[in-house]
């Protein structure tokens, strides 16, 4: 058990990334009943946008800014206006299928324009170690964890402590009433899409130096985050955060103490158990169904 601390730190760092991506699932679901199956590809794409900026000579810091801005335009604004809005009137299922098609489209486009091979990606966190409670921990793990926690903290503060956040929540909970009391619901929904785009760009920036930039890297991440969102509670931001951290830690502990060969199965089994005993997720609230 001597490396339990290391496993926990590494698991929390990965889990924090899952949480960032999972939060996007819940935000879009709450405000616009959208299940975005391209969420993993949304994490993959910003890294390539940043690499493209660097290829044309932009320094890393500028590439980050450009990558985040382009992500917000493409994966926030354009995604909402060109795919979600037109498909929404056909219902949740056609929209979900459209996002699956979008995932394939993004993946194939990146493969065509860049390469099928992986590319290296610079890290915003310096390499090296620090000692925490007598354990040597990599700066990268700490950096990823801190940035992700700050992002989630910022988001929850925005949602719970600001007028803008309250308007967003009102728009999500009951758009009709929100409209009556003067909340600009459409603008709030657009803001949610932009926040999701920002979060996936941030996740991309943090995870790509470790996972490498590859057209298919969104598959694993999207699946893990989706499981995290369901486990935590699809309709609660705090649930997505808890689910992300839980899956990250569970995955690492399972791989270490149970079996590396069956590590991929452990989160799935956990998911089934949660769905069986608490369908709304660990921190989610049960939604009423009208018949």
């Amino acid at each position: 058990m001597s490396n339990l601390f290391d496993l926990l730190v590494a698991g929390l760092a990965t889990g924090a990334i899952y949480a960032l991506v999972a939060v996007g699932f819940t935000l879009l679901w709450q405000t616009s009943q959208t299940i975005n199956f391209a969420q993993g590809e949304f994490v993959m794409l910003p890294a390539f946008l940043m690499l493209a900026a660097m290829h044309v000579g932009a320094p890393f810091w500028l590439a980050i800014i450009l990558g985040i801005l382009l992500s917000m335009i493409l994966l926030g604004l354009a995604f909402k206006m060109l795919l979600v809005d037109p498909m929404m009137r056909h219902g949740v299922l056609p929209l979900a299928i459209a996002t699956m098609a979008l995932a394939i489209g993004i993946k194939e486009a990146v493969k065509q324009f860049f390469s099928a091979e992986a590319s290296p990606f610079p890290s915003i966190v310096p390499t090296g170690d620090i000692t925490v409670l007598g354990h040597v921990v990599s700066l990268q793990s700490i950096g990823v964890l801190v940035v992700a926690i700050l992002a989630v903290f910022g988001l929850t503060t925005l949602l719970n402590r600001t007028s803008l956040g309250h308007q967003m929540q009102a728009a999500a909970q009951n758009p009709t009433v929100a409209r009556i009391i003067g909340v600009p619901v459409e603008r709030m929904i657009l803001l949610t899409f932009l926040i999701n785009a920002f979060l996936v760009a941030l996740a991309s920036l943090l995870i790509t130096p470790i996972y490498l930039a590859k057209f298919s890297s969104g598959e694993v991440l999207g699946q893990a985050a989706f499981i995290a969102a369901i486990v935590g509670g699809f309709n609660q931001v705090r649930g997505a955060i808890a689910g992300g951290l839980l899956i990250g830690v569970l995955d690492n502990l399972a791989a270490s103490y149970i079996s590396t060969q069956y590590r991929a199965a452990v989160p799935l089994i956990f998911l089934i158990v949660v769905i069986l005993f608490r369908p709304q997720g660990l921190l989610g609230r049960a939604e009423e169904r009208t018949v």
Partner: protein
Amino acid sequence: MKSTLLVGALLTAITTTGAFAQAIKLADVAELSGGGATVGTNWKNGIDLAIEEINAKGGVLGRKLEVTHADSQSNPGVARAQVQKALDAEPYVLLGPGYSGSVKVTAPLAAEAGITQIMGGEAAELTQAGNKFLFRTSFGQQSSMPKVAKYIHDDMKAKTVAVVWVNNDFGRGGRDVVIKELERLGSKVVADLSTEAGQADFAADVGKIKAANPDAVFVYLNEEESARILKELKRQGVTAPLMGETTLIGQKVIELAGDAANGARGHVGLTTDAPVDLIKGFRDRFSKKYNYVPDHNGLKGYLAVYMVKATTEKMGKVDSKAFADTLHGLTIKAADEPGILMDVTFDQNGDIDRQSFLVEVVEGKQVVKQVLPKVK
């Protein structure tokens, strides 16, 4: 006028047909697109370079070599269809594919047709199925892993070793041989870790390696996963020396892993950085023609064609049925056939024996540290 044209056309047809009859036809099926595009492109370019050189010097037994290239799309199913199509055209020898999985499904077709297949796959099992028409251009794991184990035991002085491998035909084959050899030599395997192809997160695997505290770590994964685990090993501060094979210290891995690749060592059957004059000459000619430095697959393709040349000249005739019999047990010396680059011997299974190299990554570059002798 009409009759003149007709005679001219007939003469052209006869001449052309005569030239085709004279040419020795080879068929190549390689990974020209898909995940193995780098492998297949290097292999194809090596073949084309060798054919250009041989034809410029008068061909083989006075006949030109011709090759057709087909794309397996890095897919065993497509490879099988392409090989069947290539065999239907009755080539003298079949070249490729490079992926072990594709070789596994195509080798029975070539054997059934009685056509020799010279391929790039390295999985141990390929030449252990009794196929008399299958030949390697590089070491199989049964040849390379004993050298790896010997280096870990004798040179690294490792009493305890962690072995981490990818859970597919390639990884499992290497893992089985290296563990057997390590145990035979007296090194204890303290961690035996399987990982998945395409795995992104190696934190737990590296955590296990740290916990086992081995004297050395043997890493046997595909290139991208090798780069990811190298980064994670560095991230978690593992200081035990790292040993691998071609897939651990290839140029692409070094590019992806950056600083984390420094210090990694590996056994390579073929490298253009080898301190061998004939290989340096090949590297220069290849780089001049294609504007890049080839990986070991470029060497494999090049050698495959020179294997055809040397074997045919040894027979003194172009006889596809007798080709495999002649190549079994044949030693080709670089002094007699410079295109073969190093002395090489083919055994009764189609496996090869020749010198190989111990490479270390130093400041982002492969440096050959040791030339390892032939096994026999």
